[in-house]
């Protein structure tokens, strides 16, 4: 996976063939946007423009969809996206405190990226591990019953990742 920041955005062959495969299928837009975000990590404006061009739909329609759904990101996230679950069980068990502590440790706010681009923090809806509340997720790794004290160690473990 590579991030394209050139003026003219380049889509990988697999992304292009995915778009090609879905071009004429009903209800394709959200599926294609998922694929774009999966490859690039977010949906930069140029990518949205390119999708508009390939599907022959107005850019406004694409932005209408991208901005409607929480899952789609318009800004580039950190290399390690720290997702703090804010489902009800995690909220009750101190999810908010974890966010505050992470903000203090990393010196950034919610939905911001550290200067070195390594970390970003986001609050997410229930990840469905309520039995382990409070939960944070970094990449594929789920941390359960997290305490504030454990956070520096967890962050350190991902610093080089």
């Amino acid at each position: 996976m590579s991030v394209h920041t050139k003026v003219e955005i380049e889509f990988s062959d697999s992304l292009l063939s995915f778009i090609d495969e879905w071009r004429d299928r009903q209800g394709n837009l959200i599926m294609i946007l998922h694929k774009v975000q999966e490859e690039i990590g977010y949906i930069p404006r140029k990518a949205a423009m390119k999708v508009a061009e390939l599907l022959e739909v107005p850019l406004a329609k694409i932005y209408g969809v991208v901005t409607f759904y929480h899952f789609f990101k318009l800004e580039k996230p950190g290399k390690n996206q720290i997702q703090v679950c804010m489902g009800t069980a995690c909220y009750l068990k101190g999810g908010e405190d974890l966010i505050q502590e992470l903000e203090d440790i990393l010196g950034i706010g919610l939905n911001q990226v550290t200067d070195d681009g390594r970390f970003s923090i986001e609050a997410v809806r229930c990840v469905g591990c309520c039995g382990l509340a409070p939960v944070i997720v970094i990449g594929e790794k789920v941390y359960g019953k997290v305490t504030k004290k454990e956070l520096p160690g967890i962050i350190a473990a991902h610093r080089d990742g």
Binding site: L29, Y69, T88, Y91, A133
Partner: protein, 595 residues
């Protein structure tokens, strides 16, 4: 050589503190004393749940379940049950008590749970279609294709009394019938797997543990209503469920259980996934369909109902995951069998995600009509840490709270509605005395405000206004008129919002106002948060008499606002305190008070 008997002694916290450990040792002694060490193994087990009647003991392999066992009973259990083969009747858990809601004579069990939806979860490898088939998988589809007419299927569904498990509880057979009678060539079947309640994960577990049960049911619906295409709308946040569904679809196609000419008949049915992208409003049928179409998930007024005019304007049957998972069992065992489980108006079982301040959190499937008390105490093991139960929240952001005095209410669609809550999709969150009801309402309102699609004013403006008032109250700036104002706005939203999201968004407030009006009053008039949650309303103070001056709190304080001489009572500088609660957490002498 294996033992002949295993005696399991509950090692849960409650049982252990209730002489469970003593009992354990006495049982071992009784076994050793009789020289039966080679025949009997005594072990401690994890919590059994039935903490109110602990300590509990279970004997394997005969599954005898003893409750309220004292250490003095150890000798008798070993002598009578093991040596003489006669169970100790007076200690036995009375099975009939647990069978109230399952009127099936030939099943004998003491468990409170009864698993239809979760029947395969944990039992089969979800990535292996043959394991599903071995457990009567695709037997229902077989029956539908070869032995039943669509009329028969509808009739069976009608007899079963199955109602939608997504929350609203609409009879499933009627949705199917509405679609079936429309004269239209193209129809669709949709599975709603966009589990949006932040505290519920029943659907995800079913899809991860038993994906074929959903595929099979959708094919059954397709055959019944005359649809050849199905869509599963699933949250992108569930990668494992998506992966297992994709594998399941591939395997079913390979075996000809999906795709063209299923099992050699002229029935063809295909299923594709469509990923959600994080929008709670898509739990609303019409919004979900818009999203499947790749558009913004905005609801539209009903009628026309999706069953008549749904996806791309065509008749569409939508059911949620849990509803689908019931259907193969209804077809194979019959609607009459299913209707025997549960209550008159709410048949079958319901899966709940039991979380929050509860000893044994997890998924629980019980017959409708089981009481909340049973779920919380006999299955869930009650509230941990010696804290006092305060309320149970059902239905998530669309639901409400239920208090101690109503815990004996049998759960079904109608009873929960009467109490001002809803069945919802199955989130069940236990709260104790450390949870603030104003704060909880604020949490849910923040959620619904964030998730409102903004199309209709009552939801868009009403929700935000309610949130602002709650925020004001939680910061100590509330006025008593605010309560009447919130009720007025809430009732208006319930009546005139376009869709279910806006109509139910005020429920958390209205229900907490109904049961915890006093707590709101304390926030407003006394500027106090009894639970100690609302930071603007609390302060931490060191109790002079209890403080030994160890300095642990001062070292833990992140802003360094605690001072004092060693071995002398310390003091918190209230101006600098950020109310993080660290001092309260670290003090071993309970010398920090929250006020």
């Amino acid at each position: 050589m294996a033992y002949k008997h295993y005696i399991l002694v509950c090692g849960g916290v409650e049982c252990d503190s209730n002489k469970g450990d003593d009992l354990f040792r006495k049982l071992i002694h009784a076994v050793e004393h009789r020289g039966l060490m080679a025949d009997i193994q005594v072990v401690k087990s994890g919590c059994f749940g039935f903490c109110a009647v602990g300590p509990v003991v279970k004997i394997l392999p005969d599954e005898t379940f003893y409750v309220e066992v004292t250490p003095e009973d150890a000798e008798e259990i070993v002598e009578a049950h093991i040596v003489k083969g006669k169970p100790v009747e007076r200690l036995r858990y009375r099975e009939e008590e647990s069978k109230v809601n399952v009127r099936i004579k030939d099943l004998s069990f003491y468990q409170k749970q009864f698993r239809i939806v979760l029947r395969n979860c944990g039992a089969i490898n979800p990535e292996e279609i043959t394991e599903y088939i071995a457990r009567d998988g695709y037997l229902a589809l077989e029956k539908v294709l070869f032995e039943m007419t669509p009329d028969d299927v509808i009739e069976e569904m009608k007899k079963s009394g199955l109602r939608g498990r997504g929350g609203a509880g609409f009879p499933t057979w009627r949705k199917w019938e509405f679609s079936r009678v429309v004269d239209e060539k193209q129809k669709y079947v949709v599975c709603n797997a966009d589990e949006g309640d932040p505290g519920a994960y029943m659907d995800r577990s079913v899809l991860e543990g038993d994906p074929h049960s959903v595929l099979e049911s959708m094919a059954i619906a397709g055959h019944t209503v005359g649809a050849n295409q199905g869509y599963i709308y699933i949250r992108a946040e569930y990668p494992l469920a998506i992966d297992r569904l994709n594998r399941a679809i591939d395997q079913a196609k390979e075996l000809g259980l999906l795709g063209d000419n299923i099992l050699g008949t002229d029935f063809s049915f295909d299923i594709e996934l469509r990923l959600g992208a994080g929008a709670f409003v898509c739990g609303e049928e019409t919004a979900l369909l818009a999203s499947v179409e790749g558009k913004r998930g905005m609801p539209v007024p009903r009628p026309p109902f999706p069953a008549v005019k749904g996806l791309w304007g065509k008749p569409t049957v939508i059911n949620n995951v849990e509803t689908w998972a019931n259907i193969p069992v209804i077809i194979t065992r019959g609607g009459d069998w299913f209707a025997k489980i549960g209550t008159e108006g709410s048949t079958g079982t319901k899966v709940f995600a039991l979380t929050g301040r509860i000893q044994n959190s997890g998924l629980v499937e019980v017959p409708m009509g089981t009481t909340l008390r049973d779920i919380i105490y006999n299955i869930g093991g009650g509230v941990p840490g010696g804290k006092k139960f305060k309320a149970v929240q059902t239905g998530g952001p669309s639901g409400g709270v239920i208090t101690e005095e109503y815990l004996d209410t049998p759960i079904d669609y109608d009873q929960l509605g009467k109490l001002g809550s809803i069945m919802g999709s199955g989130g069940m969150i236990i709260m104790d005395e450390s949870d603030c009801m104003v704060d909880v309402s604020k949490f849910y309102l923040e959620f619904t405000v964030d998730e409102s699609c903004g199309k209709c004013a009552p939801c868009r403006i009403g929700g935000k206004t309610l949130f602002n008032i709650l925020d004001k109250i939680s910061k100590g700036n509330g006025e008593m008129e605010d309560i009447a104002k919130m009720k007025r706005i809430g009732h208006a939203m319930q009546r005139v919002s376009l869709c279910g999201l806006g109509q139910t968004a005020p429920n958390p407030i209205l229900s907490t106002l109904r049961y915890f009006g006093e707590e709101y009053r304390q926030h407003i008039e006394e500027k106090k948060c009894p639970a100690g949650k609302c930071k603007s309303l609390i302060s931490y103070e060191i109790i002079e008499d209890k403080c030994i001056g160890c300095g642990v709190c001062a070292r833990a304080c992140p802003v360094g606002c605690i001072s004092g001489e060693r071995r002398m009572p310390h003091l918190i500088n209230q101006v600098e305190c950020i109310k993080c609660g660290e001092c309260y957490n670290v003090c071993k002498f309970n010398a920090v008070a929250v006020g």
